[in-house]
Point group: C2
Chain length 387, copies 2
Amino acid sequence: MFSSDKVVYFDYNATAVPLPQTHRLNMDIVDRCFGNPSSPHQCGREAKDLLESSRLRIAQLLGVSPQEILFTSGGTEGNNTILRQLALQISPQHVITSQIEHPSILETCRVLEQLPQIEVTYLPVTENGVIDPEILLEAIRPDTCLISLMTVNNETGVIQPMEQLSSIAQAHEIPLHTDSVQGVGKIPISWAEWGVHYATATAHKWGGPKGIGLLYVKQGASLEGLITGGKQERGRRAGTENVMLIHDFAESLQWTINQQAAVSTRLQSFKKQIINQLETTNGFFINGQVDSCLPSTLNVGFEGVSAESLLISLDLDNIAVSTGAACSSGAIEASHVLLAMGLDRKKAKSCLRISMGWNTIQEEVNYLMERIQFHVNRLYQKNNARP
Amino acid sequence: MFSSDKVVYFDYNATAVPLPQTHRLNMDIVDRCFGNPSSPHQCGREAKDLLESSRLRIAQLLGVSPQEILFTSGGTEGNNTILRQLALQISPQHVITSQIEHPSILETCRVLEQLPQIEVTYLPVTENGVIDPEILLEAIRPDTCLISLMTVNNETGVIQPMEQLSSIAQAHEIPLHTDSVQGVGKIPISWAEWGVHYATATAHKWGGPKGIGLLYVKQGASLEGLITGGKQERGRRAGTENVMLIHDFAESLQWTINQQAAVSTRLQSFKKQIINQLETTNGFFINGQVDSCLPSTLNVGFEGVSAESLLISLDLDNIAVSTGAACSSGAIEASHVLLAMGLDRKKAKSCLRISMGWNTIQEEVNYLMERIQFHVNRLYQKNNARP
């Protein structure tokens, strides 16, 4: 039942509402499988069995082989693992990424390009927020050793043309990494068919637990581990495996992928309602072509209205939305993604991200639409009444 | 109640039996604090409040300030974070560590010393498994930029002379990192008084959850993050914070430190019983001076008996023990720690680690002693009967 006493949550892209399968652990499993999977006794073997059976389930759900899956502490570690391999190379390295990547890619590139051997090209995007394959083609150089381009943008929900981008990388025999953190569980993911070498995912974005993610490493692709020590994960990621969270990862992913089509249809309809309702609101515009975006994500602006004021007003009404990626907040700045799409700073600061998920219901959407219209009109009039 | 149907667990140094406080989460907390702590709305603020109140509790328990605590995914990530800062330096770097460190230090040093600017000295230890401060003093060079020495050895339980080691590092103004993974919760830890710059801990070694650890970074000590991206942890460790596990970390640490003296007294008495009982067993010897070891840990050998056979026999009796660090197992090799203490390969392969914890009871100790004596005598006779 809907009650506006509880928070009405429209910030699934920051982190999803936990699925009932998550954190509601079977105590029997905790007690039986607490061992260290590396230990050669019964407690170790039971933990190891749960680890490997979970890995197998996840691999089957994602259409890859279990040997191609490596568990990490989350998306940020995964992205750092791929990029920071380059820090240990001595020969010149050229990396291609895009201006709209997550901070875990962009900030890490900025650290790496301080090394004398590393150079990074940041591809621009179209005004619709798409990475143009032609632009990728032009940026490739003889010393390009890695391309990293996201599957879905976290702020706009724009789905990138992975097949085309990947075929260019393949034609030039350059390994392609894709940050699929916002894609897995929301759209069909085909790393193997796309032919990417590496991909990143994290469970909390679909309602699984925080603190557990994975790297897909295509069979035959090399990987220099970021976190070394014990021989866990076939020598590619050291540290005692987080078996309980990995089990939850598998449980929550299975539910999510089974329900993906049904949830998408429902959210797509909510999104259309929101657009239809807000279209007549003062200064309304949409970022990213609606057809090429996630059903769950809508990035909208209201020219002449401060998104920060709007966010605070909605927060007082118990509605949680975002003005951009959660990771860069604190002080609210203009989104680097919207700036890359050609918005000026002022227009970018009038934009709101509405992101929905498995637990979003019609009554919440109705309440959101009503409160946004109310506050936008109020803030717009207040601004325009000023001298 | 004791029942040998359940596994009788003597491998706490690999991972501890989970405390009742761990994983038995209050569902209200999961539902209320699932938000991303970086989000500037109510869900974010509630997660952030739980994060910061947990950090404060942990800081008070460890006698440091909350700003000096940085959460990681565990001990291995913490140790890698400290060492891998050097990979981004261009000037020559000399590092001092010891031959008995955990693989997350030793393997990472081996990766780093492949870089032309990095050189590593591995200090030997005494036959009692102690790092001699005099030997550290001799190893210091003008270009020494980091010393990393463990607080307690994981295989022998030998407690290292941290105060003396630290005062030497301080006198030479060289930052000292200590891997306290096997120390926290088991002996009083005084990072601030010792004057170390960095220290590593992980929750699952005292019965907290897996997948969450911390780095102590002394106020004023520099830290170049290993995992970059968002501005979490004051810019020093990116990635959505694992608020539930951090809350469990605080809960389990509080119980552990409150009970530390009582648990230690009980385990010390168990350890004495085991030594007294086994002393007369064929080929018995102890690794590490008993007085300078953790009350919970006993590393013993039986000359002429294969520890691997002994481990398998005990496993069939539902007893879990270890032949060394869990991380390096799979194939059972001679322990690098015991080799550094001067044992030959054959003698090292006759050694067993017995590690106890908060849930170890007298009946389990009795059963362990009886089964060890039985199997050692059986294996010894079998070996000596061979031509």
